[in-house]
Amino acid sequence: MISVEKLTKRYPAKTAIEGMSFQVERGEILGFLGPNGAGKTTTMRIITGFMPATDGKVSVDGFDVFENPLDVRRRIGYLPESPPLYLEMTVSSYLRFVAKIKGVLKQKLDIEVKRVMERVNIADVQDRIISKLSKGYKQRVGLAQALLNDPPVLILDEPTIGLDPKQIHEVRELIKDLAGNHTVVLSTHILPEVEQTCHRVIIIDHGKIVAVDTPKNLRSQLQGAERISIEVQGPFSEVVSKLKAMPGVVDVQKVGDLDGRHKLQIESELQKDLRSDLARTIVQNGWGLYELQSATMSLEDIFLKLTTAEEAEKQGT
């Protein structure tokens, strides 16, 4: 549905995106993950035709963004980073305006506006002035605007920013609901969001793609080591040295002390479950075992690992 090839965007002072290529399938939810300034917004702005790229090719539903900008824009619903609202208008008159410029036919205007308002749950504020609405409502009005004229592609730049947890949940459910009929590209820097909503994740940093995969695969692929956290009571240095000597243990790190008990984190070799071995060693030495838990790396860890690895690599060269 969306195809991005060797996309590059250079500003006089810096390069925002460098040789980025990826595809988005019909009905897929793709998550863009990356620190602020990584190039997420720039990429989205190029796909929506807001700004031209320096180099590369972007097509949506077979239409080239540079050659047929209007055909592309007709197929995209876009929610920019800050919702583009005319604050002095009422919700319904704003949505009517957007529907008109998106080419919704006059006789369908009312039905379409009503449909999107119900979809994002803002029908109760339709006659209110937008500037008087709470941030959550404003964000939802922005989302409603993107849904007008039912575009097959939705580009959402940080769709859940500024919402309370309940609204965040609602918006995520809505996005999941939209998938199938719609192709969704969303950006975020909230990691659980990606895990909960996206089929596929692209992690970008400094304008380059660092990783592309499903959230699940990303996690298992990138786990260089399993982690086990334990809470043990015993002579600290002896515990550490004995555990380190165990086969399969890569590293032992102290996390904290609590009432004479030590919280330790143990990194083991890949695909090796050391939990029963660890328990045996501790019991055999007569120490007290209070807790033993395997801790998989969260996406957050992976994300940090990836983006900082990139940084280190850069500094090395």
């Binding site: 500003y11 720039t42 807001f50 700004m51 305006f97 957007v98 410029i101 080419g103």
Partner: protein
């Protein structure tokens, strides 16, 4: 066309949803009334004088409504200079500031449609301002019978002159995110186009005098006010308008490149 009308409608609503429309209309109508009254008083005095002269040298007819309408409409052209930057200052600067420009430029509209929509909206409001001058002008028709020809050309001149200035203001509002800056810059640009006339008067060489007089935005109105419809004046205003609109269009394009 429907796209353009959607933008025109939104902009006109925005004028009337904010205090701008009411402030501009109130000030303009108040000032035009004030000037009309003082011009009327002056011409009355003149008429009295000429009546006294007539007793000595024989009657000489004077066209009172004509003198009043010409004086009044020329004064309007100056007042409008101060009012028009207020109509265009927010047209693009506000969109840039609030980020709504991103909505317009990613919707299935061409840049030209966006520019024309904004321009027509400002033009429509300007028409309302021009129509409001019919409150005092109506008085002339009520109590006299002015020759309609010069009045018609004067209004045509004011219309072309206004549209050219609005186009300049529209271009300037694409350059900044700040309405006030846009208003001040537009005002400055208009003042320059106005004051080249004064510079021209003091100019020594004939060529520079000619060029500067040609560039002056007010000098082209004189013929219209006298009832003369010269194509060179029409072309001057139309080309100023088209150049400014073209610059607006290019400026929006460069906005995309810069992001």
């Amino acid at each position: 066309m429907r796209n353009i009308s959607a933008i025109v409608e939104r902009e006109l609503r925005a004028y009337f949803n904010s205090p701008i429309a009411y402030v501009v209309l109130t000030i303009f109508i108040f000032l035009s009334g004030l000037f009309f009254r003082s011009i009327l008083a002056q011409v009355m005095q003149m008429a009295l004088m000429s009546q006294m002269q007539a007793q000595q040298f024989g009657p000489r007819p004077i066209d009172m409504p004509g003198i009043i309408s010409r004086g009044f409409l020329s004064t309007m052209s100056v007042i409008l200079l101060f009012v028009m930057p207020m109509l265009t200052m927010g047209l693009f600067s506000e969109e840039k500031k609030r980020g709504t420009i991103e909505l317009l430029l990613t919707s299935p509209l061409t840049d030209l449609q966006v520019v024309l929509g904004k321009f027509f909206a400002a033009g429509a409001f300007y028409l309302i301002l021009l129509l409001s001058t019919w409150i005092p002008m109506g008085v002339l028709y009520l109590y006299g019978s002015p020759a309609s020809g010069p009045i018609l050309t004067a209004y045509l001149g004011l219309l072309l002159y206004g549209l050219a200035i609005l186009a300049v203001g529209l271009f300037i509002s694409t350059l900044t995110e700040n309405q006030i800056i846009a208003a001040i810059l537009s005002f400055g640009a208009i003042m320059v186009l106005w004051l080249v006339d004064v510079v021209a008067q003091n100019s020594e060489s004939a060529t520079s005098k000619g060029v500067l007089t040609y560039l002056s935005i007010l000098s082209h109105l004189d013929d219209f006010m006298k009832g003369v419809l010269a194509s060179s004046n029409v072309i001057f205003y139309l080309s100023l308008m088209l150049v400014a609109l073209f610059l607006t269009y290019r400026s929006i394009d460069s906005l995309r490149w810069r992001g």
